[in-house]
């Protein structure tokens, strides 16, 4: 019988063995759907006034997003079953990825003093404010939704 396969590159056999399925992807899918539901529920609880919107909601939904991302990376992208090379590849990437917001935060993200742009001048009003009480522009909190 002729060999159907081209000569395997070095490491291919080992790689093939390493990639044999170790998990049930539908269970992971279920977990991801549950996490998505948790995000949605947290948002709805904010609307219903059961959860304080703002920093806490942001924390909850971002924590859920990180958990979902971990599951996708560990299982779907097989990183759980790969060697230590994944740290060598990803660590500099993650460090550099966090560096950009960190570098921009002091200049653009935070304001130590009042900053004067048209959007923050007295009397500046947006539809957001008009919908929810008519306060002047300010704050990062998401106001309660109107129905």
């Amino acid at each position: 019988m002729s060999d159907e396969h081209a000569p395997a590159p070095a490491g291919d056999h080992a790689a093939h063995e390493a990639h044999a399925p170790h998990f049930n992807c539908w269970i992971i899918f279920g977990i991801l759907c549950v996490f998505t539901g948790v995000s949605w529920l947290a948002d709805k609880m904010g609307d219903w006034g059961l959860l304080h919107k703002g920093v806490f909601l942001t924390f909850v939904v971002l924590a859920v997003a990180c958990a979902k991302a971990l599951f996708v990376m560990l299982y779907f992208m097989h990183l759980k079953f790969e060697g230590k090379w994944k740290f060598v590849l990803l660590a500099p990437t993650i460090v550099l990825a966090m560096a950009i917001p960190a570098a921009l935060m002091p200049d653009i993200g935070s304001h130590y003093y009042d900053y004067q742009v048209p959007q923050t001048m007295p009397g500046a009003v947006s539809e957001d404010d008009a919908h929810h009480g008519g306060h002047t522009a300010g704050g990062h909190e998401k106001p309660a939704k109107s129905h």
Binding site: E4, H5, A6, P9, G11, A14, A15, H16, A18, H19, P21, C25, W26, F29, L32, T36, S39, A42, D43, L57, V61, V64, A65, A69, V72, M73, F76, M77, E82, G83, W85, K86, L90, P92, T93, I94, A97, M98, I100, P101, L104, M105, G109, S110, Q119, A124, V125, S126, E127, D128, A130, H131, H132, A137, G138, G139, H140, K142, P143, K145
Partner: protein, 345 residues
Amino acid sequence: MGIPIPNGKLGMWLFLGTEIMFFTAFIGTYIVLRLGSRGWPADPEVTHIRIWAGGTNTFVLITSSVFVVLAHEAMLMRNYRRVLNWVYATMALAFVFLAIKSYEYYGKYAHDILPGHVAESPQQALDKLVLELDAAAGIQPLQLEENSLANERTIKMGQKGQDKAVEALDTRLADVKERIGWLGGVGKACNPLTEKAKYGRISAADAEKELEQLRTEELPKLVEEKETELKQLAQGALKDDEFKKLKERKNAELKQISDSVRAIGSVHEPHVILWGNTFASVYFIMTGFHALHVVIGMIMFGVIILLGEANKLGPQHEVLVENSGLYWHFVDLVWIFLFPLIYIV
């Protein structure tokens, strides 16, 4: 010796590392800009964010990620027909994602939430309304054309042997003047609102109400009057060809007015959204690049489909299928972060 993975897979992971930096640049910038902008529009009713669309897209992408994992498992079992089926299913879900995204983008376009288009103060909203109303009414372009023709006529009058040209210009001028006259009713109806808006003598909310009244009551009445006039047109003492010409002119007048009224129907309501332009900019950058990556993923799946349909899929394509899967999981990963950041927070 070396990392125990194929070179192609290592290459894909290195590429994904750069892609992580690519997206964290945009997402990081969005976070920083948002934190630094007091009064950022958080209400989805204002920014026309549809949470159900984002949630559905999250579910679609997660499901497509599962299909890609199943395609790879089928590849390991050398079941190429099954590989093809799962890749087709992934492709179908990718189209669903793009369809929902297109619907969302159309909503943004319809409400003019585009970078550089959003009014950030009441006077900006009113100025924008005046500009749009003037453009929609269509009188100004005709007035510009009239000036241009009049200038050309003056020049030709001073030149010898240009009598025919002057005659032709006279005919065109008369036509343009007649068209301006036709739109007199439209201009008169819009004038009270544009005059108040130009000088800030009306609030954005009241301007919106007046615009609605203009669109639903005054302008349709104008069109109705012209239609009635056309129906009641009687030949009287006119000859056949004269009556035919008159009817044609009346039809042209009705069409001109109807076109103007229809264009005014598309004028955007005056809405003020603080930081709306920055919001639109980061929104389209993040979701636009993500959609572009979805399309690139679809091209990769297209290659697998073509190979599969030509019965050329073989063990040598295992790395291709795995790499396409890795890329697709990355696209899903980005959306997992985009969804809460844009739709929920």
